[in-house]
Amino acid sequence: MRARTVGRHINEGGKNIIRNGWMTFASVSAVTVTLLVVGAFLLLIMNLNHFADSLEDDVEIRVFVELTTSETEQENLNTNLEDFETIDSVEYIPKDEGLETFIDSLGEQGDYFKGLRDENPLNDVYVVHAENPEDTEVIVEEIESLEHVEGVEYGRDIFDQLFTATDFIRIIGVVLIGGLSFTAIFLIANTIKLTIVARKNEIQIMKLVGATNGFIRWPFFIEGLLLGTFGSIIPIALLWFGYVQFYEMIGESTGLDFFEFLPTYPLVIQNAILLLGIGAIVGVWGSVMSVRKFLKV
């Protein structure tokens, strides 16, 4: 394609945008609304994922060693645990250390338990982190079947609820984003159809004098691209500004130390790139949909 032709296509596509006035406005608005929701959900989902990840990292499996275990047997157990491919880390907490932590955690009342130092009733404990938190239950079962394990504990309930909740929100997000994107695509397709109907004669003449389909298609392709891109400007600006404000006001201090929001950068930049990309795809898709059947002259 010649450089001059490229210029012509961009020029024509731009003219269509202005010529279609209200329909341009309607479809850009549709993309704007869609992308606002998409963007808000993306921010929510990315934060949820982050939150889930940090919680998942905290899921620890506590393995209590039988009191009667000898040192050699315990070493065997240690190697066994470390041999698990699904286990990320194994930390050994001897019963003396466990008792001290316990006493410390009680403050002054801990004094009552200092007497236990000579006759420690606690078990030695291994704190295990799974490589992949979703495998936790399987790992627990396997560890329970090892010798010299008295019992295993892990925060099972929180963990299950967390997975259900994040999955649920992800599904709602995907459905909503999908639905809105299709609405936007159809509106754009309709706007471009208007251009095509208005320029039917022109297209017919182009075909009759031997313009290729590609040549005819380009301006509409560019019109769609512009509609989608214009539609992404307001959502990007609004969500960028909004998240900055939000993060400054409450993001850093939720009061719950396990609930941390993602920092503003690079999150808002990633979000902007995603929205721009989705806008462009939606626009081009809409134009491709409406142009296809008009070219069969």
Binding site: R2, R8, E202, I205, M206, V209, V297
Partner: protein
């Protein structure tokens, strides 16, 4: 070799209308052919099949040695660059000037700017509209508008010019003006195929006449007459 050849061509539209029922013709390079016949006899379909706006249901059409039924869809634009088409209703773009309406046909096939300027002025000279290059279509008379359409049709130097009732909307005097231009173009070697209802023209400017009735050729005479009560 024939420039345009049809061999037992049939066309039945999806709604069941049988527009063309077994037509075979042979048109040589440089000929001037009138296509006559009552409305709805299949003239338009016959013409449309030549520039591949319609595909025949059966039979073969070849233009300049290229078989239209074997040509690939994406090569059709290149086939059409070798044909000019003129319609009864001119089909000019109202927002473009005379010059732009003609140059448009060269732009869409990506000709260079220098070529375009030179060639457009050349064809505007042929149709005697050089002095109205900057006018808009609505500032012109019907005859002048049709001349712009002719200029657009011949600007890419096609070997065939297909005209579908080019004088249908024009008064007799203006029609003759158009015919003189078409004859001039024909004299320069372009084959012309013209569907028409204009008895006066066909009977006075004697050319080959192909008459179509009920989708068949009823008459094909070298220097024929219109032959219908119109």
């Amino acid at each position: 070799m024939g420039l345009i050849q049809m061999q037992d061509v049939w066309k039945t539209y999806p709604n069941g209308v049988m527009a063309v029922n077994g037509i075979s013709i042979y048109i040589k390079k440089g000929e001037f052919v009138y296509v006559v016949g009552p409305s709805g006899a299949g003239k338009s379909t016959f013409i449309k099949m030549m520039f591949r706006e319609e595909k025949p249901t059966r039979g073969e059409i070849s233009i300049d040695g290229k078989n239209l039924s074997k040509i690939k869809e994406r090569h059709i634009p290149y086939l059409r660059r070798n044909m000019g088409v003129v319609f009864q209703d001119f089909k000019l773009l109202p927002s473009l000037t005379v010059f732009e309406n003609v140059s448009f046909a060269m732009e869409v096939i990506e000709e260079s700017k220098a070529n375009i300027k030179k060639r457009v002025m050349e064809v505007l000279d042929v149709v005697r509209l050089k002095n109205k290059a900057r006018f808009l279509p609505h500032e012109l008379s019907g005859g002048e508008q049709q001349r712009v359409a002719i200029a657009r049709a011949i600007v890419n130097n096609p070997s065939v010019l297909i005209a579908d009732e080019p004088t249908g909307n024009l008064d007799p005097e203006t029609s003759w003006e158009i015919m003189r231009i078409l004859e001039e173009i024909n004299d320069r070697g372009t084959t012309i195929i013209m569907a028409t209802h204009n008895r006066d023209i066909v009977d006075s400017m004697r050319k080959r006449v192909i008459a179509i009735e009920n989708g068949r050729i009823s008459r094909d005479e070298a220097r024929g007459m219109y032959g219908y009560e119109s």
